[in-house]
Assembly symmetry: C2
Homo-oligomer: 219 residues x 2
């Protein structure tokens, strides 16, 4: 088994796209997988596809859009995306139950089918408050669960950004020349980014703290 | 939260259909969920749907057929379904990586969206040799993983058949008047059951051991 191959979950947002560039910089051969789970901001997946096409990274989109209507989340249901700070109580409506576990188990299943044991996702320290599936404890138990599920104890779940925040990720990504103009973050998925939902606010804060202008257009 | 509601993963086969009747008999209000993961024997899902329709059980089908082509398994790829005994080495080609974990995480996500913490699946003692995701160790770690993933430590993964085999399940199901003529087992998914693939062989053995004729038609 080639030790340098890795699967990553690529949403097309800032964090996972930086992770893609980070892993390529480390010499990994990357297989990127994106998911249509019925999210309003499906345009992120189109961004992921374009980014991979330009740099010649293998990219697979898994269509699970039929799942979205059954999941209670403002990202998939006909309800307002909350505005405000990412860590606010109101942002909890953006949780999609077990999203990372669903994506990890499918992406790892696809990886194993190609002989790739290692999988990475872009959970970071800023996510932990409202998203339990972005914590280190989750990643550790998910790794054990994937191993037990397949009797393969070589499986590794990597989350290199688990202890750093979005500003740290951006600082790293700017050095790696990540094309942030091609990424998508806003949960609303309209023509321009709203600049008001939690994830837009967090993105704009990161750019401000790095002293760089965000190349995306905002309302 | 209503303690009597439960989600079950219903393939439309003998084991999960017996589990459905077993849980109804125990007084549970059941939400059944089936998956199209690109399996050749998709007709099992049609059987699940018909069974639920007749007895008035809520049934949801999740379409993840786009995943199948990426999963290495004789159930999803253009390769021969092996014939022989269920526990033979050759039957390993029928493993679908992480199938139960993928189904449990999605079905539990749907359950949580409706306020239902408990989920059941029909893993049984005969499966353990070749399917790691049918062992008690897997079910226990999956329960912890689902809890950690959602910060909900009320989640319970039930597998009432984990210590009994298919003959025991059938014996129980016959008492519960499970309509076995409406179930589907054969991995080949042709007009009639083949009677030769591992899962047909195991089914036929169970009927023979119970001294009852299998109501399905065989080649």
């Amino acid at each position: 088994m080639n030790m340098k191959k890795i699967v990553i979950i690529l949403s097309g947002g800032m964090d996972s796209t930086t992770l893609l560039y980070y892993l390529l910089d480390k010499g990994y051969e990357v297989e990127a997988i994106s998911f249509d789970y019925g999210q309003k901001h499906l345009k992120e997946v189109g961004r992921a596809k374009s980014i991979c096409a330009v740099i010649g990274v293998s990219h697979t989109i898994i269509d699970m859009s039929s799942m979205g209507e059954h999941l209670q989340s403002s990202l998939t249901q006909d309800e307002e995306i909350p505005e405000g700070h990412y860590t606010d109580e109101t942002m909890k409506s953006t949780v999609v139950p077990h999203r990372n576990l669903i994506m990890l188990s499918i992406a790892n299943a696809i990886g194993l089918s190609k002989g790739i044991d290692t999988i990475a996702f872009a959970a970071h320290a800023g996510d932990h408050t409202i998203y339990p599936d972005c914590r280190r404890s989750f990643a550790s138990i998910a790794e054990l669960d994937l191993a037990t599920s397949s009797d393969n104890y070589d499986i590794r779940v990597l989350c290199p950004f688990i202890s750093i925040d979005k500003t740290d990720i951006l600082r790293m990504g700017l050095k790696l020349k990540v094309p942030y103009e091609k990424t998508w973050t806003c949960y609303k998925g309209d023509e321009k980014s709203c600049g008001k939902c939690g994830t837009c606010v967090e993105r704009l804060e990161a750019f401000e703290e790095c002293g760089v202008k965000d190349p995306l257009e905002y309302e």
